[in-house]
Amino acid sequence: MQVDQALQQNHPEAMAFSAAAAEGRFMVPTCGDCGKAHWYPRAFCPFCFSFDVTWEAASGRGEIYSYCNGEPAPGTNVIAYVKLAEGPTVLTHILDADPAALRIGLPVKVVLQAAKDGQYFPAFTPS
């Protein structure tokens, strides 16, 4: 799927994520100076302000830091923060989860999703 042209123009730095995600690879921006990964992605490191940031392949593993059940019914739209094994915590969706089994600390794995504008984003599912 092609990423919406307006989004490409407004956020050129984000496009590499979608290109990799389209091939099934989950990349996380990582600092070459302080070594820390961060989220949401920027072209510089929010921790040390270095511009030596590259997209590095991530494990796709993490655990639920917090979650909530939205509409239309509990379990159908679970919004969560997931703490990645690489460190940063991501605002995301939990897909295909049994609402009764959801808990903080639940191990999850990434599911790369294409949004309606074509941009990929990381969602997660219980692993």
Partner: protein, 384 residues
Amino acid sequence: MMSVGMAYIAGAFEHPTRKATDISVGRLHAECAAGALADAGLSRDDVDGFFCGGDAPGGLLAMVDYLGLKPRHIDSSDIGGSSYISLVGHAAQAIAAGKCNVALITLAGRPRTEAISGFGGPPSHPTRPWEPPVNARLVDLYALCARRHMHEFGTTSEQLAWIKVAASHHAQHNPHAMLQKVVTVEDVLQSPLISDPLHRLDCCVVSDGGGALIVTRPEIAMNLGRPLVKVRGAGEALKGQDGGAVDLTYSGAAFSGPAAFADAGVTPADIQYASIYDSFTITVLMQLEDLGFCEKGQGGRFVADGQLISGIGRLPVNTDGGGLCNNHPANRGGMTKVIEAVRQLRGEAHPAVQVKDCKLALAHGTGGWLGSRHGSATVILERE
């Protein structure tokens, strides 16, 4: 520069409307300005400083022209619903610096009539590729905080419900309040889950309306014949996701609160009345902790059993009924927080909720999204 003792809130006005079908947002700003000026005993042409949020129609360029103002100092720094609390601090600082003598701060909006909602933000917003696809609603960014608070500290839905119960006890005395019926903990828990663990009655109302404040230098305030309400301290802060080092257990009040208390030279134990931003019940609980009214994690115990009800509890909070029951004009609750604190300090709150001999009050706001990026502003006000 310290703002201590250099400025007074001389006028305050809350628009009585809760649904403004036949009044434009611009006119609401004008009516609020006129109301606050009349309350202070000043006229429009006395205003030489103008302050509004970034949501004011057309911004400063349009509002100053529309209202016919001739300000020599202007400020529309926007931190969402907490803007009007931070702007009180900015106005006090501008007055102390000699930049203006009579500052007018206005807020108005019609989210109820215009059905405004949503995550918002321009196409260039830095989170645009990453967060809008997740489609989290505003309430979800508060529910995530509530869930984590419950996990870390054992906070319960019953404890959160007490915040709404207290607001409803106050709102029964406010003829303008949208929700005047006293509710129970059971009523809150039995209302539909909007974003588990938050129920419908954990959420504030959506209302049209607005408000305005007049801040002046001491020499002017002392000649107006109104009770003297001094801006004794102010603090502001921003909190975000910290590059992914997300910690939902505290809010920016942990920074703006201590700054305001240091500015004022007082402690939380000195505060007799507090207006605490109540977009959702969890907002109140976290702010009370972060402001130092109780230890971190003890907020649930602090608010339970009517402890926020005036005349009953240890800390009267939001005696107008707050955003949970009274109103939440423009989806921005900071203005009404200051206004009710001014009423309390003047002795002009409803007799049923008036704090006896109220000399020191606090108003605090959280603007934006508690669980992602928000502004925090605290002011400490003193009756002289």
